[in-house]
Subunit: 250 residues, 2 copies
């Protein structure tokens, strides 16, 4: 039995997230269908993360066991051909028997893309949040730096989560601009439910002067969801990188 | 009567090009509807170019005359709000009475975007051409340089055009890479029917070794459509910039 790691990227616009559920089509179903079509057998798959409805992935990892003996190179091409237009197969590799896409993961990077122009975007409306007011990158980077470190992020978690330990370590959080697109990048050892979207919502309130950069430590320490900003819309969010070994720079 | 210059960008995926025609919805109709809704009157509009079905525009200029006295700033916002999601209003300005979006134009820049990765793109499938074989930018830039200058581009024009003079001046033609996206940029005083798409098709044949970079001058001089490459698909093409005064650098 081989244990395979399939890495995909996907446009989440039409999906109810990754994880199989009853109320809509998910990415996991499409991947399971593809595995069945290619290998002839249905496999149980492990995804590196649940993602919300509308969230995208530049990199998303899936592990599954199979008796199929097609080479990884040919499997990658077969997946890319069989998966629908909005899911691409980036690589297939053989991994150790105990590798698990979710439990072996040590860190993840998310990016949030903002279309920062007075005019709307005809190209990236499902791929970015339209925010017309000019973003002050320098100011927001001061706020973003306060998220770095090990903190109890209870106040940056939407209700409905069953997680008990709400402490997470953020390795990096910063913003950058490329033309009209502003990207918020956040890397950590794990994220609470909606945590990245609430961090982005909070940063946008800093941009509007409602929160000062140096208020962030107090807001985190308060563990009060009401003091953090609103939850930014899902469609600007991307799982960007999945780490199975921690870079030394972290 | 004011003469206004409206600059838009649009995603051409769902349109049969710019110019009003009988067999499908065009960008011009959407703009005319927006003008009527905002000013209360239908206006005759002049577009800077006809664009093919599926072609996009990062910048497209339209002039029209109106009695409407709303300020340019407010008009821009009204257009951005009223135009559909795939057409953005970038600016509105008042221009001289004899300004004509098409006839006053002295040069245009087109870009052609290629998704150059073995895997398909889940995000830009309608916005780029997927070309999996690795593009040799340096080699293709040698070929691209041969298009610069004043040439008779008769062999780089699709049949069905009624143009008599097929001589055009190309000011710049080059390729660049940004990650998996390769962009072909071509600037000239005018372009024949499908000329940019045939130039791109020819460059891709250079990449495949079917044409050598130094064959290009002969192919241009032959005026033989069959010696040039195939016409690259419309959906990677963007009108990128419209010039009403020629930069000194040209």
């Amino acid at each position: 039995m081989r244990n395979l790691l399939l890495t995909i990227s996907y446009n989440g616009s039409k999906y109810c997230g990754f994880q199989v559920q009853n109320n809509g089509i998910t990415v996991a179903e499409r991947v399971q269908d593809a595995i069945e079509r290619i290998t002839g057998h249905r496999s149980d798959i492990k995804g590196c993360s649940r993602t919300d409805s509308g969230v995208h992935a530049n990199m998303f990892c899936i592990s599954f066991k199979t008796e199929c003996d097609i080479s990884c190179h040919r499997l990658r091409r077969a997946f890319d051909a069989v998966l629908p237009e909005d899911i691409a197969a980036l690589s297939v590799e053989e991994v150790d028997d105990d590798f698990h896409a979710r439990y072996s993961c040590v860190a993840k990077r998310y990016v949030y893309k903002i279309w920062n122009s007075t005019a709307k975007t005809p190209f990236y409306s499902d791929l970015t949040l339209h925010y017309p007011r000019e973003i002050d990158i320098e100011l927001l980077n001061k706020a973003a730096a306060h998220f770095v470190g090990t903190h109890d992020f209870f106040g940056f978690c939407s209700s409905g989560s069953s997680v008990v330990d709400t402490t997470r370590t953020v390795y990096d959080c910063h913003l950058s601009r490329d033309g009209d697109i502003v990207t918020v990048s956040i890397t950590g050892n794990g994220f609470l439910y909606n945590m990245v979207r609430i961090v982005v919502g909070t940063l946008l309130e800093v941009n509007e002067g409602k929160i000062l950069p140096d208020d962030i430590p107090d807001i985190i320490a308060s563990r009060d969801r009401n003091r953090a900003g609103s939850t930014a819309r899902a469609h600007g969010l991307y799982l960007d990188k999945v780490y199975y070994t921690l870079p030394e720079s972290f």
